[in-house]
């Protein structure tokens, strides 16, 4: 089975997000009202062939937590859809 996986990598709550902070200031400087909590993350997408949905999900999660993110600083969200 073939899947399209999307891994989102976010800085954990409590970890300083200077990029998000800077972008937030820029949004404010442009004069848009009511915008808060700007956060910057990464999206990594990949195609994966595996014998089942569970196997694909397990493999992508392992890649996401060992290589794509550093658990000291970041959280991951894994999404999977059949391709």
């Amino acid at each position: 089975m073939k899947f399209r996986a999307k891994v989102q990598v976010w800085l954990r709550h409590g970890v300083a997000d200077p990029e998000g902070h800077t972008v937030s200031e820029a949004i404010n400087a442009l004069g848009y009202p009511g915008v808060t909590d700007v956060r910057m993350g990464k999206i990594v997408s990949m195609t994966i062939v595996a014998e089942s949905r569970e196997a694909a999900s397990h493999r992508v999660f392992e890649i996401a937590t060992s290589l794509l993110s550093n658990p000291v600083l970041e959280d991951v969200i894994v999404e999977l859809e059949e391709a």
Binding site: A16, T22, V72, L73
Partner: protein, 221 residues
Amino acid sequence: MTGVSVGILVFPGSNCEYDVASVLDNLGIKTKFIWHRQTDLDGVSGLVLPGGFAHGDYLRPGAIARFSPVMTSVVEFARSGRPVLGICNGFQILTEAGLLPGALQKNAMLKFLCKEVELEVVSAASCATTLIQTGKRLRLPINHFEGNYTCDSNTLDDLESNNQVVLRYVENPNGSMNSIAGISSKKGNVVGMMPHPERACDDLLGSVDGLEIVKSYVANL
């Protein structure tokens, strides 16, 4: 020091390996460059992970380097108690590899820092500070974007109570927790630091304080 040699790891994107080699060479220590695809450490007595941008710092500094083929041998070497010194990007690789706790995040205020700073030697129990009096101040250059040391509060307590904080900034330049500039493993044989001692070993470069660190490291070979 006959027969003693230091292995300097070279990843694609490392750029301080020749500086480290030159300083060790001046002290009469033989050096060997160890390409990241090598798995044999060639009988060296100590390892240095030099600064630079291993694998382009893609994903995060050290994230990809930590999976380079050489790293399995590096982990074994470190576990055997022999000296391993990570400088700047080398420090980042050591944390990603789990040989040192915590992580290095982007500098507070998103500033890339390139300047000489004052540091205090906090512990003489590490392989990079054996010959230095605790409390001594050193002037060394820093040159990094991700040098803001962070870890969870239990780890921080452990580092402090086990005497694993090796160097502290006198004036915190990057937001680093407890002004940490360098730490060691529990045994003290694995050390990571953001400052570049190898760039402060000649009067022409403005400071020779780095020599104290390099000489301490050499004394542990």
